[in-house]
Structures are given as structure tokens and as C-alpha cells.
């Protein structure tokens, strides 16, 4: 029952101990720590000399649960009486409800007067008996409520709202200059949004612009070349580098609207089959790159036009490119870079097949080695 300096020093120690376990993230660590200290003090008053940490935590949890339940039931009774603010009788009724499992004097009398409730009597008894032991620390009121800075409305700035349908009590638009500067980076689809969305939501804007893109894209999807397959993969890979336009992969020609290309009927049918896959790729891409690569797209377009003499060639172009995609997935990455500039025209196909035979040679050699190793398992064991 003693409350000497040594004891409170021990409490200090325990508080420090609980502070060490901050790694567990919960909302009111501070309140829980205080509850723990208070409960520890109460236990000490009762006569305990020490405690298990888990038991103390449990008891403090139950304590906070009790307080909350008390508030909840009191508020419930206040609301039941048609009030929003509780008064003493609500609290007493709440206490009675929580104390029902224990029982109290006069609990059986349903119509008893709340002012003379047995619960209150018990509390008066308890106060008369218990020592007046204040909490060891003085604590500031918490949680600290910071003053919020309200958003400036049109009315506050003494500014007329730009349009009649916008009432003056709505928050004012941000400085238009900020929006204009930001939108200069990605004009096009995003620009018409720029006035309305504040600059802080820049990313959201970008998303919106990319959401708009698929329909813009469907117009040119029919004229798309086969290279889009390979591009789709590379674009996904370089999505992270988008912030730096110089590191991002070049756009394929199909991402820009191309009107002058007339593909054969058969080809466009083929493309229609592929269409869903294409759109997936498009959705993956962030289309803000589109504007930064306008010159590159132009260049690619012109190159495509140069190489395009007959529609038959387009078809022929298509085959090796598809093959190329498969190769990228496999091991022949080293061969890919020097091949890419040559893939215009039919004669390159033979080169492709040449490469193929080369690769076949390699494969055959690898198989040979495998066979040998299978035939001589003793060698394998040595390995």
C-alpha cells in the first residue's frame, strides 16, 4: 500500500518499458500508456507488489473498455430521452447497466429513483474508503486538436466567382498560373481539364487523360503495324522511367493518328482479331509520353512510308516482326539489336532464317552435350 519514491521509480521503469514496444502501431499509444500507469497504481493500492506485463496490459484494456462502454450506454440513454448531451442520470443508468452482472442494492426494483441508486451508494462508500491517490504525472489534455486552416472561398478573397453557377461560398480556384505551367508538360487531352483541376491533382489528371486515350486510339488501330507487339512489352518495361522522357522507349508509329495508310482488307481483319490485346497494352501505357515523342513518331512514320511500296510488303514485314517478338522472349537478345535496322524488305527474311539456322546449330550442339552427359552418367556425377 505504500507509495514511496522507490515504487514510483519502478513505475517509471515500466512506463519506459512500454514505450520501448512502440513498433506495434495503434492509434492511441499515449492513452494506453497512461491507462497502464493508472491501472498499475491502482493495483499497487490494492496490495500487489508486482505484475506480469501481459496481465497489466489486459487489465488496462478492460479499463478502457469499461470507460468506453460507460460512455456508450450513457449516450444511449441520453438519446433515448431525446437529448444529445448526457446528464448524471444517464451516467448512473449506464453504470447500473454495466453493474447488472454484479448486482447492486435495489437492482430488483424497476422503478427505483436513480438519484438513490444502489450503484451511487456503493461509489460513495468506495470514495469514503479509498485513499485519494492522484495520478503520478500531470498530463496535458489530449489528443491535441490542431486548428485547421479552412480553404479560402470566393467570399473570403472578395473575388467574384468566375461563372454564375458557382456560388461564392465554394472554395476559390487556385492561381490559374500554376495550372497553366503544369499543363504545358502534357497538352492535348489534359489541357481541357487544366483549368478545372487544381495542380495538386496533377497525377489524377494524367490518369484521366490516359483514360481518354483508348477511344482516341481506336480510330487508328486498324492501321497499326505488327511492331506494336514488341512495343507493348518494351513500353511496359519502361513504365518506371516515364518521368524522364529521354529514358523512355520510343513510341510506335500507331500511337499517333495516321490517316493516310490504307491497309488491305485481310490485314485489317487480322488486326481486329488482335484488337483486345492491343488495347490492354495501351491501357498500360501512360500517354503523357505521347507528346514528348512527337518528333520520333514523325520520323518513324516517314520511315514506314518509305519502306511501304506495296501492300504485300506490309504483310511480309509482318511475319518477321512476330517472329522477332518470340525471339525476344527467348535467349537471342544479343542478336536482336543488330537485326532491328535491317528488318525492312523481303531479303531480310532470309537473314532471319539464317539466324535461325545459326541458333539451330547452337541448339543442336547443346542437345549433343546433353546427350553425351546422359550417356556417361559417371561424368555427371563427377560434376
Amino acid at each position: 500500500m505504500s507509495h514511496g519514491g522507490g515504487e514510483s521509480g519502478r513505475l517509471h521503469d515500466k512506463a519506459g518499458h512500454s514505450g520501448k514496444r512502440k513498433s506495434r502501431v495503434s492509434g492511441d499509444e499515449f492513452a494506453r500508456a497512461i491507462a497502464k500507469i493508472a491501472v498499475a497504481q491502482l493495483c499497487e493500492t490494492v496490495g500487489y507488489q508486482s505484475f506480469q506485463q501481459s496481465a497489466l496490459e489486459k487489465l488496462s484494456d478492460v479499463t478502457t473498455w469499461y470507460i468506453r462502454n460507460m460512455g456508450k450506454t450513457a449516450q444511449f440513454y441520453a438519446n433515448l430521452a431525446g437529448r444529445t448531451e448526457g446528464n448524471v442520470f444517464d451516467v448512473i443508468q449506464g453504470m447500473e447497466e454495466l453493474g447488472l452482472s454484479q448486482g447492486f442494492a435495489g437492482a430488483s426494483d424497476v422503478d427505483h429513483c436513480l438519484a438513490s441508486s444502489g450503484i451511487v451508494t456503493e461509489i460513495v462508500q468506495y470514495i469514503g474508503k479509498a485513499e485519494d491517490i492522484p495520478f503520478v504525472y500531470s498530463i496535458p489534455p489530449f489528443p491535441v486538436a490542431r486548428e485547421r486552416k479552412p480553404v479560402q472561398t470566393f467570399f473570403h478573397i472578395c473575388e467574384e466567382s468566375p461563372a454564375e453557377h458557382i456560388p461564392a461560398w465554394l472554395p476559390a480556384f487556385p492561381d490559374p498560373q500554376t495550372c497553366v505551367q503544369l499543363s504545358a508538360g502534357n497538352e492535348g487531352d489534359a489541357v481541357f481539364n487544366a483549368d478545372k483541376i487544381e495542380p495538386a491533382r496533377h497525377h489524377l489528371k494524367m490518369d484521366m487523360s490516359s483514360m481518354n486515350l483508348p477511344q482516341h486510339f481506336t480510330t487508328c488501330i486498324g492501321s497499326e503495324g505488327p511492331s506494336s507487339f514488341t512495343f507493348g512489352n518494351s513500353a511496359r518495361a519502361t513504365q518506371g522511367t516515364e518521368s524522364n522522357p529521354f529514358l523512355a522507349a520510343p513510341l510506335q508509329f500507331g500511337e499517333k493518328e495516321v490517316s493516310h495508310l490504307g491497309p488491305p482488307v485481310r490485314l485489317s481483319e487480322e488486326e481486329a482479331v488482335r484488337y483486345p490485346v492491343e488495347q490492354n497494352h495501351i491501357m498500360d501505357n501512360h500517354m503523357s509520353v505521347l507528346e514528348t515523342f512527337a518528333p520520333a513518331i514523325e520520323a518513324m512514320k516517314s520511315r514506314f512510308c518509305d519502306s511501304e511500296e506495296g501492300q504485300k510488303k506490309v504483310l511480309l514485314n509482318q511475319r518477321p516482326a512476330v517472329q522477332f517478338k518470340i525471339r525476344v522472349g527467348k535467349n537471342s537478345m544479343a542478336g536482336a539489336p543488330d537485326l532491328s535496322p535491317q528488318k525492312i524488305g523481303i531479303e531480310n527474311i532470309s537473314e532471319w532464317f539464317g539466324k535461325d539456322s545459326e541458333n539451330d546449330d547452337k541448339k543442336r550442339r547443346a542437345e549433343k552435350i546433353l546427350k553425351q552427359s546422359i550417356e556417361n552418367p559417371s561424368e555427371l556425377a563427377q560434376l
Partner: protein, 144 residues
């Protein structure tokens, strides 16, 4: 207290007078709460009351809840202490010399769960739950 009891008995006979008495007693009690500082700090109670949705500007009510909570905790702790005292202590044999010197009263999960079960709180405690070794008995040995 005697005053309250007598007012209780009076209530049956002269209800209106008793009401007045009860009211007076209650007001007096609430006023006396302002002099009494409960161990559970007001700030904590206010915080949790606000969390539960109870709103009242009256500090006396906060005190009342604090006192009620303190009584609850003290009751539970007393019950647990009785459990602890009633239990024979064959638990620690190697530390018997220490035990004989002074039987430490330690708040354990076992006692607490027994005490709380009477208050409608069911507490299940894992068998393998390992409490921190630095708590429980150790502070006692540190002190001695």
C-alpha cells in the same frame, strides 16, 4: 452513507420528501467529486468518453465515470488478489528461500482471468504465451 440509507427507507413512506433528500444527496455527492482526485486521470476518461460518443461539458460527470471505473478496477484487482492469496504456492521450488522470506504478490494472467470472468469478461489465454522475462518475478529479484 447512513443518510442515504435512511433516505431510502423514507422514500417508501413520504416519496416527495425523499426525492428532495435524494436530490440533495446526489448534488452533494457530485460536488464532493470535485474535491476527490481519482487515480485515473480526467484527461484519459475524457478521451475515451469522447471516443465512445458521449458528450457533456460537465466535469463532474467525467469525475463520476472516472471514480466508477476506478472502483471497477479496484474490485477486479481485489478479486484477483484474493485468488492469488488463496492459492497455495508450490509453484516455484528452486526459489523457495526467496519465497519464504516474503511472498511476492504478483498480478498474473491466471488470477486476472478468474477475477474478470466474474465481471463478464471472458479471457482466453494461450497456453504457450510467453510473457516477457523481465516482468513478473524479476523486478522483485532486482530490488532485493
Amino acid at each position: 452513507m447512513n443518510n442515504m440509507n435512511s433516505s431510502n427507507s423514507q422514500q417508501q413512506q413520504q416519496s416527495s420528501e425523499a426525492r428532495h433528500d435524494d436530490d440533495a444527496v446526489l448534488t452533494e455527492f457530485l460536488a464532493s467529486l470535485m474535491d476527490y482526485t481519482p487515480t485515473i486521470p480526467d484527461e484519459l476518461v475524457e478521451h475515451y468518453l469522447a471516443k465512445s460518443g458521449f458528450q457533456c461539458p460537465d466535469v463532474r460527470l467525467v469525475r463520476l465515470v472516472a471514480v466508477a471505473t476506478q472502483k471497477f478496477v479496484a474490485d477486479v484487482a481485489t478479486d484477483a488478489l484474493q485468488q492469488c492469496k488463496a492459492r497455495p504456492a508450490p509453484v516455484v521450488k528452486d526459489k523457495r528461500d526467496k519465497q519464504q522470506k516474503e511472498k511476492r504478490l504478483v498480478l498474473t494472467m491466471e488470477d486476472l482471468s478468474k477475477a474478470l470472468s466474474e465481471y463478464g469478461v471472458n479471457m482466453k489465454h494461450q497456453e504457450y504465451f510467453a510473457d516477457s522475462p523481465s516482468t513478473g518475478m524479476d523486478p522483485a529479484s532486482r530490488e532485493e
